[in-house]
């Protein structure tokens, strides 16, 4: 089917206004927030009913046309990068909150509803939706599900997978399937968990039932500063070992602290090598008790500063610096590249030292911001894409950092997804049998291979070709494969 025939076929399904085919009209869809990768789709569609989505999926299935679904495009791994031979489907028109059921602590929403809009819709009634990725103002719940998005409150409240109760999904063959609902469990396989974080490869989400939580009575945040990164890392381990699960436990290194302070003046001590932001929430009495406990606990860790937010405004201000860390660091350099490895927390000091060594070796500055509570690192590599070779160098350094995370038993991505960005590192994280298992799942659900092809799970050939370049300890990864 050529482009003309495809447009004609789509006209049977969608009103003309919902089909975009010119380069100009499609330009806004050529990339997501990983803008180093850009590509125009053949066509873009903006369906506004489930039946239209289903019909487009069926068409793609029968004609073997690649189909990439997209929310707000705030993803950081290129998961929504279009296929130039395929259709890009924006779910932006699915932007309604369908039902709020406070008695059962849930809401049914369409995939194009923004993350923050859910909390805003139920705030007056004392509820909220817990996952809060830093893009929550713009990102949509459908994208959150596809990427299993996290945020700064994961340690206590979990990822997207822990905060959704149900999904309506269009399978790659065009069937509408309902998974879960308002109950605390559902029979059979946990297909909902399989769909969550599958990066648009296994289905198109057309409705999400999210879990709503009652707002905590009180939140309090402390800011603790250290003259050595190791001391901050030790403090994190001490807090957890003492049986405290903070709502958020974040760490920033010197460069990130200074950048944030220059950018929005949150009141961070700029002489510190590292700061921790530790938020405790819950009942009033509980919060007071925990803050006292934290003060006693952290005294022996020799902080150079310890501050409790003395008002809600100051609490917000402490967080503002952390939340603005990426754009703040962005001001220091024409471009930055954000990594997302996760490691067992005890390796934090070692990994930070190694990252710093790699940074010197590559001659690129790395700032560190991370969700210390759950070991999720966000090293930001500063570079200038206009300098020939710098992007490649930044990507190489990024790859090294991810391999470092793997070498201590971590993972290449904690919350941003694999997309196109980390697909090569998937070859390092998984064996041939494991990748084959992923492919078997994909083939079972999407026999025509139409949904988001080329993302998330690398082909074995790709790994083999890469393997020829990266030989570890004299041994080729995936040695059973032919090389060509």
């Amino acid at each position: 089917m050529d482009k003309k025939q495809l447009i004609a076929a789509l006209h049977e399904i969608l009103p003309e206004a919902l089909i975009l085919h010119s380069d100009e009209a499609q330009r806004p869809f050529e990339c997501d927030a990983l803008s180093a990768y850009q590509r125009l789709p053949l066509l873009t569609v903006l369906p506004d009913t489930i039946e239209q989505v289903q019909a487009v999926v069926r068409l793609c299935h029968h004609q073997q046309i690649p189909l990439v679904a997209r929310g707000a495009g705030t993803g950081l791994s290129g998961g929504a990068l279009p296929d130039n031979q395929g259709i890009l489907m924006s779910l932006a028109k699915f932007n309604r909150i369908l039902e709020v059921d406070l008695d059962n602590h849930c809401a049914r929403v369409e995939p194009g509803v923004r993350n923050l809009a859910i909390s805003e819709a139920v705030a007056d009634q004392g509820f909220y939706y817990a996952p809060d990725p830093s893009s929550q103002i713009a990102c949509t719940i459908g994208g959150n599900v596809a990427e299993n998005a996290g945020g700064v409150h994961c340690l206590k409240y979990g990822l997207t997978v822990h905060n959704i109760l149900g999904l309506k999904v269009i399978t790659p063959e065009g069937d509408l399937v309902t998974l879960g609902g308002a109950c605390y469990d559902s029979p059979g396989y946990d297909v909902l968990a399989l769909m969550t974080g599958s990066e648009g490869l296994l289905g198109i989400i057309v409705e999400v039932t999210v879990k709503l939580l009652p707002q905590p009575e009180r939140k309090q945040v402390i800011l603790v500063a250290y003259d050595e990164v190791e001391k901050a890392a030790d403090a994190v381990a001490k807090i957890i070992a003492a049986g405290i699960i903070p709502a958020g436990l974040e760490m920033m290194d010197k460069l990130a602290i200074q950048a944030a302070e220059d950018f929005c003046h949150p009141g961070y001590p700029v002489n510190a090598e590292a700061i921790l932001l530790c938020e405790v929430d819950g009942q009033n009495e509980e919060v007071s008790e925990r803050i006292m406990q934290l003060r006693d606990l952290l005294k022996p860790t020799q902080p150079i500063a310890f501050a409790t937010a003395d008002s809600e405004a100051q609490r917000q201000q402490f967080w503002a610096g952390r939340k603005a860390a990426f754009p703040a660091i962005g001001r220091l350099s024409p471009d930055y590249y954000c990594m997302d490895g996760t490691i067992p927390r005890r390796y934090l000091p070692q990994v930070l030292k190694d990252i710093s060594a790699l940074s010197s070796q590559f001659g690129l500055v790395v700032a560190n911001v991370f969700h210390a509570g759950d070991g999720n690192l966000h090293p930001l590599i500063l570079f200038d894409a206009n300098q020939p070779g710098e992007l490649q160098k930044a990507e190489q350094l990024g790859g090294k950092i991810l391999e470092l995370c793997l070498s201590v038993g971590g993972t290449i991505t904690g919350e941003h997804g694999v997309g196109v960005e980390k697909i090569n590192q998937m070859c390092s994280q998984f064996t041939t049998a494991e990748l084959n298992q992923f492919h078997a799942i994909k083939e079972a659900l999407d026999p025509a291979g139409i949904l988001n092809p080329g993302k998330a799970i690398p082909t074995l050939h790709r790994c083999a070709e890469l393997g020829a370049m990266h030989i570890h300890h004299g041994q080729l990864p995936h040695p059973e494969l032919e090389r060509f």
């Binding site: 308002a182 396989y189 297909v191 996760t342």
Partner: protein
């Protein structure tokens, strides 16, 4: 307490070569959940041992045959718990069986269920390969979430070898209160309490008493207990009895149904006795009413009923799936176990 992965793998390979199906078995404490099977038994119960545990990481990795009580003992020494309160219908309950059956205890509405805490697993797939998914970190989105897919799959997708679980600190203080209420009042109270951020870890109703379990810091628990009122039950083992079905409610001879409903649902109109758990979301019912009626009733409430224990037939039954979902199940099953050798009929009769 040694690693039997390779022996188990060899048995799977042999079964594949002989085209013989296997029934995977841990401690057998939940054998009543599935139909009796005539296939060869693959016993995982000696594949025991905690492999990795760093309390400050909040992660424990153990072999599938490790008994829950052994895990709980080790966790208790570090002041930590399995945050989903898995039932132990006997001392032999294993971690593998817990994950395979996906059953969680009274704490479920407040902290989460088994699958919420599974971080990674190693398994033998239907090709006889040992494969590993997820890991030992709390945030991990590399590849499909195969580990969570294993929860509740009843061993039909592979033989679990090792499982990494997120654990949590034990609550500093716990208190058990009761209030005498009618079923309707009990459900209303549950609904009211759930809509506030309170240090709760259990809300159940036994037909006469609403049981409240408060867990948290000392000050939070006392402040909440003062606010809520009720009779304080010291040294009560109600919650363990509820979790393990040792409570007198579970000693009746009529078939036991497990009905999962949206928690704010009204009292279920069914003959027989009811015990309400999960803050209203789980209704245990003993009734001699026809299975079709109970299933229909649950469906009318947007819930689902499972025949959990049936003395006469000696087997439970899962709710029927809609055709589109059943078809997805078959595809997923085939992708892990193309020859269909793992636990045929143990989850659904169709595969």
């Amino acid at each position: 307490m040694h690693d039997q992965s390779l022996e188990l793998q060899q048995q799977v390979i042999n079964a594949l070569e002989q085209k013989q199906a296997l029934t995977i078995r841990g401690g057998g404490s939940k054998a009543f959940l599935s139909p009796a099977s005539e296939y060869l038994t693959l016993s995982v119960q000696e594949h025991q041992g905690i492999i990795d545990y760093h309390p400050s990481e909040l992660v424990l990795t153990a072999r599938a045959g490790t008994r829950l009580k052994d895990i709980e003992t080790v966790l208790a020494e570090a002041g930590q718990i399995l945050p989903f309160e898995p039932p132990q219908y006997s001392d032999k309950a294993t971690l593998g069986g817990t994950v395979a059956s996906g059953l969680s205890g009274p704490i479920r509405p407040f902290t989460g269920r088994v699958r919420d805490f599974v971080l990674g697993c190693t398994l033998i797939n239907g090709k006889g390969e040992i494969v590993k998914f997820g890991g030992q970190v709390m945030k991990n989105v590399a590849g499909y979430d195969v580990s969570r897919l294993m929860v509740g799959a009843m061993g039909t997708l592979g033989v679990l070898l090792e499982i990494s679980i997120k654990v949590l600190p034990a609550f500093p203080v716990e208190q058990h209160l009761t209030q005498t209420l009618s079923p309707l009042q009990a459900l209303q109270t549950m609904r009211h309490l759930r809509s506030h951020n309170l240090p709760l870890s259990g809300l159940a109703y036994d037909g006469q008493l609403l049981h409240l379990r408060l867990s948290g810091t000392g000050s939070a628990v006392s402040a909440t207990a003062r606010k809520l009122g009720g009779e304080r039950q010291n040294a009560s083992d109600f919650w363990t009895q509820l979790r393990d079905h040792q409570h007198s409610f579970f000693q009746q001879s009529a078939p036991l149904w497990r009905i999962s409903v949206p928690p704010a649902s009204d009292v279920i109109q069914v003959d027989g006795d009811q015990l309400i758990d999960w803050a209203g979301g789980l209704r245990w019912v003993t009734t001699t009413q026809a299975a079709e009626q109970v299933i229909e009733l649950a469906a009318s409430l947007n819930g689902h009923a499972r025949l959990f224990r049936h003395a006469a037939a000696g087997q439970g039954r899962l709710p029927v799936l809609p055709e589109s979902l059943l078809s997805l199940h078959k595809k997923i099953k085939h992708s892990f176990d193309p020859q269909g050798i793992f636990n045929p009929g143990q989850l659904y009769s169709e595969f």
